[in-house]
């Protein structure tokens, strides 16, 4: 029990420091939009993932209120996506995408294996890889749509 809360605390600290360290000032809005968008997407799809018992979270922040791991769904994965989105090249780069998806799948597998924060039920590691790939791909399209009109959004020019 104790170990899991220390890990959650570390995740929050790494996340907050990571956001401010890795996302430069001119990209803050872009990063926040990517964060919020991914949060909405993962919230929606995780409802089904947990409803149909693909994943399970034995140790949770609010054990009464919800079944999914709040820190990971609400905070950590959206944050990773926002860093991914801010750093990706203009065109969708498949190698960058694959490495990133593999890393976060590995992260979830490690969390699953060594802690009680997450537990695979009928989910497998490759299933998770495909799931994250889908979430990232969908969110990436939505964010690109949001920023496609360069005349409306000139974030790149700001602060330079």
């Amino acid at each position: 029990m104790q170990k899991e809360f220390v890990i959650l605390l570390i995740l929050w600290m790494i996340g907050i420091i990571g956001f401010f360290a890795l996302i430069v000032r001119k990209d803050v809005r872009r990063g926040i939009l990517a964060f919020l968008l991914f949060q909405a997407v993962i919230w929606f799809f995780d409802m089904f993932v947990f409803k149909y018992g693909l994943l399970y979270a034995p140790v949770r922040e609010f054990p009464e209120a919800h079944e999914f791991p709040l820190t990971i769904v609400y905070f950590f994965h959206p944050l990773l996506f926002s860093i991914f989105y801010v750093y990706k090249r203009l065109n969708f780069n498949f190698i960058y995408f694959s490495i990133w998806i593999s890393s976060i799948t590995l992260f979830d597998v490690v969390i699953e294996h060594y802690t009680d924060l997450l537990e695979f039920r009928s989910m497998t590691w490759y299933g998770l890889w495909v799931y994250f790939g889908f979430l990232y791909y969908a969110s990436n399209i939505c964010c690109d749509w949001f920023y496609k009109d360069k005349s409306v959004f000139q974030v790149e020019k700001w602060g330079t």
């Binding site: 209120a65 409306v152 000139q154």
Partner: protein, 158 residues
């Protein structure tokens, strides 16, 4: 179907119909308001249920979350998007204030009626004015966020 299921369906249909009230040139503003409101309701919605202030006896995804997915994921954020795209930005402060009061009051009255007559929501340690204050406050927070997000660097008038 029970009356609760019909109301949930009605909420989805009605709020989805509100999508057509968003002008084309303000879609991005609506998206930002919608997403930021979700960011607030996601967490607060879970906290109030965890602390036993509110209860949603009939809800979507009952096995996953004890808060109201319909309200917190969809209906309330979308109302907030409408709130922001129709905001009377160039009018005087009294009209802006009344705009807040009108939106907040309509939502609160709706919630109170649903609380009294259905099992969709039950107040435990909660009062209608807490709803009113929290709705008004979150509208204001979202409004400030949207103004910041679309500040002059983006070159768009909200």
């Amino acid at each position: 179907m029970t009356i609760e299921a019909w109301i949930l369906l009605g909420v989805y249909v009605f709020t989805a119909a509100l999508l057509f009230a968003i002008p084309r040139e303000k879609i991005r503003l609506a998206v930002v308001a919608f997403l930021f409101k979700q960011f607030i309701t996601f967490l607060i919605g879970l906290v109030v249920v965890e602390w036993g202030l509110l209860e949603y006896p009939v809800r979507l995804f009952p096995s996953v979350s004890r808060s109201s997915f319909t309200y917190e994921f969809f209906a309330y954020p979308l109302t907030c998007a409408i709130f922001n795209v129709w905001y009377p930005n160039n009018r005087n402060l009294l009209i802006q204030f009344m705009y807040y009061v009108a939106f907040t009051t309509v939502l609160t009255i709706g919630e109170v009626i649903i609380e009294i007559y259905t099992d969709l929501i039950t107040y435990i340690h909660w009062e209608w004015y807490i709803s009113w204050i929290s709705i008004c406050l979150t509208f204001y927070m979202t409004r400030r966020f949207c103004i910041w997000f679309f500040a002059k660097e983006h070159g768009e008038i909200y």
